[in-house]
């Protein structure tokens, strides 16, 4: 959906700076599209890891959904190491304060989580586009970016699906600059420079 841009860190074959982890049943196409967008828009080379079951202990019976904060905590434990990690799930997720969330992340941390439970649209293309945008947004938080106030930036606070749909799949100049700077830093650290 987005033409690739040459944002990849320089050097030999780029090593993965992010791992995509399908949690529960997730179509391969979903993870592939997200991985391609992380690479194209953020310069984040990403590997798709094998499926893992959702962590049952993070399910909140009363709310019939997974607790995103606890789920991220368990994912971080299960996936140690410096590589960033993005969990994708088709189950509904919420937090102690919010009835539901589309994604959750550790600001300036390592792990993010995105659910496409509420992203389903009429056509598969729109669903994939929403999934890619929310994933890019949450990984922006993982890289330390807060919400942006530029009107059409992917890092603006996504209040509802309409806002997600009207936002183009791109970051504003300031956020893009910051993302690329931090990805370059990550790459240097990964190479042990």
């Amino acid at each position: 959906m987005t033409p690739p841009q040459d944002h990849a860190p320089s050097g030999e074959a780029a090593r993965a700076l992010a791992h995509l982890v399908p949690l529960g049943p997730v179509e391969d196409l979903y993870t592939e599209v997200v991985a391609a967008n992380l690479q194209a828009l953020m310069g984040l080379p990403s590997d798709v890891l094998p499926h893992r079951p959702l962590f049952a202990e993070t399910f909140n019976e009363a709310r019939r959904q997974y607790d995103a904060v606890r789920l991220i905590g368990r994912l971080a434990q299960a996936m140690p190491g410096p590589t960033l990690c993005l969990g994708l799930t088709g189950s509904d997720i919420g937090t102690p304060i919010l009835t539901y969330v589309l994604g959750e992340s550790q600001l300036g941390g390592r792990v993010a989580l995105v659910s496409f439970f509420r992203l389903t649209a009429q056509g598969p293309e729109q669903t994939l586009e929403r999934l890619a945008k929310v994933s890019l947004h949450e990984m922006g938080h993982v890289l330390g970016l807060g919400h942006c106030f530029a009107p059409m930036c992917l890092m603006r606070s996504p209040r509802n699906l309409e806002m997600i749909d009207e936002t183009r799949p791109e970051f504003c100049n300031a956020c893009r600059y910051e993302i690329l700077r931090r990805v370059r830093l990550l790459d240097r650290m990964a190479r042990g420079a």
Partner: protein
């Protein structure tokens, strides 16, 4: 990437709620602190005031309603959102009666929370703007944009410069003697810029001790020094989105120049006694009557700071170098003070005008304004005469004669006569004892036109 930057305190006994809310707010650009009880919250508030409080109602010990009351006692304008998992209309009514800004039940719908926070941020912005505007009104009682009255070529060139530079973000340095109207020019730059809707915050650096100036500029946290009984926002913070005007910048100490240079470079600073970075976005307009290059040579002004503030320089000439502005300025001030005193004053007599245009005005426009104010108060008739100007320095009548050419003297005299007669050419010709045709020819030759 502009954060709302509101200082926020989240008070909830449940760690999950507290941390989730803090994380959500941090991503939205709020500066967040947390407290796990009403008592812990009061300790936080004793150290620092916050713009916004999110308070859980049901907590062991001091509950949210009591804490709300304690916050409002201390900080009546605080924005407080009350949170409960046990929402009842009665609790909501009680919270709102005690001054809560809003009331939400957890868990919240994400869209609802975003809307509430946006509304509160807008309320806060409006309040801040209101405070800044009130301050501007106080500061502009005697100075407003209409006060820039000028006909001279020098001032017209300055107006053109203001129009050119105002839309840019470049720092402006205004130089000129005391009383020439540097603050008016700074305001003109502000109001002609894209920041016109933001605040215009002025500070006279020459009138402050170094410590006081630091606190005025950077603000301070409660307890930062003796007498800092509560936290206070500084001018750097207040000028966000607008213009900061620092008058007498040549008077500030080199240490403060370093601090200011850092703010200009990094666009962020810390309050005195604080450890949180506050982002700010203002345009700096500074002014001085001093010779800054000379101060640099003497080692009293930093060269790097000078180059940072001196991107665009506007030099305001002293009034003695643009005496052709005196009649228009005098008329302007007569109009203003006549309105204020309720007197019917038509203008200056020919002799009075001659005295004003012959004087060297060491105190510049400010002195002229004071002279006219006193003359209007003293005036008994409808015209201000030489007798009302007797306080203008002795010898004023004569002091300028040696500096003017005969032609300049003639222009000044013709203009004075025309202005006295309200630009009625026939009446002015009669007063000058020349015929109307002669006066018309002279007006054409010297480019004298009704303003």
């Amino acid at each position: 990437m502009t954060p709302t930057g509101l200082n926020t305190l989240v008070v909830d006994d449940e760690e999950g709620i507290r941390e989730s809310l803090a994380a959500w707010l941090t991503k939205d650009g709020y500066r967040v602190a947390t407290a796990d009880s009403g008592e812990a919250a009061l300790q936080c508030i004793a150290r620092q005031i916050y713009d916004l409080y999110l308070v859980d109602i049901k907590m062991p010990g001091m509950d949210g309603i009591e804490l709300l009351g304690r916050i409002k006692e201390r900080q009546p304008d605080a924005l407080v959102i009350v949170i409960t998992a046990h929402g009842t209309v009665q609790t909501a009514v009680e919270a709102m009666k005690k001054g809560a800004s809003d009331y939400i039940c957890k868990p919240f719908d994400p869209e609802e929370l975003s809307l509430i926070m946006e509304r509160l941020a807008a309320t806060k912005a409006l309040r801040d703007e209101n405070t800044a505007l009130r301050q501007q009104l106080m500061e502009r009682r005697d100075l407003n944009l209409e006060g820039i009255v000028a006909q001279s070529e020098a001032m017209r060139a300055i107006f053109a410069t203001i129009e050119d530079v105002a839309p840019t973000a470049a720092p402006v340095l205004i130089c000129g003697e005391s009383g020439v109207g540097k603050e008016l020019v700074a305001q003109a730059v502000h109001y002609a810029s894209d920041r016109a809707h933001g605040p215009f915050i002025a500070l006279n650096c020459g009138a402050q001790s170094e410590t006081l100036l630091e606190s005025e500029l950077f603000g301070h946290e409660k307890g930062a020094f003796t007498g800092a009984v509560q936290a206070r926002r500084g001018r750097l913070e207040m000028a966000g989105g607008g213009t900061l005007f620092l008058d007498e910048i040549g008077d500030i100490a080199p240490k403060m120049q370093v601090s200011l240079l850092r703010v200009l470079e990094e666009k962020k600073f810390q309050r005195v006694g604080g450890n949180q970075w506050i982002e700010t976005d203002f345009r700096l307009v500074s002014a001085t009557h001093r010779d800054l290059p000379q101060l640099i040579r003497e080692g009293r002004f930093r060269e790097d700071f000078f180059y940072r503030i001196n991107v665009i320089r506007i030099h305001l000439p002293p009034l003695r170098d643009r005496l052709e502005d005196v009649p228009a300025l005098a008329d302007h001030f007569i109009g203003r003070y006549a309105r204020e005193t309720g007197k019917r004053i038509l203008g200056l007599t020919q002799r009075a005008l001659g005295m004003l245009t012959a004087y060297r005005w060491p105190g510049n426009v400010r002195e002229l304004r004071n002279v006219i104010e006193r003359a209007v108060v003293l005036a008994r008739g409808q015209m201000i005469g030489a007798e009302e100007l007797s306080f203008v320095e002795a010898g004023a009548d004569a002091c300028r004669l040696g500096t003017l050419t005969l032609q300049e003297m003639e222009i000044s005299h013709l203009r004075g006569a025309l202005e006295t007669c309200g630009w009625n050419v026939s009446r002015a010709a009669r007063q000058l004892d020349i015929d109307r045709g002669t006066l018309t020819r002279k007006m054409k030759r010297y480019g004298l036109q009704r303003p």
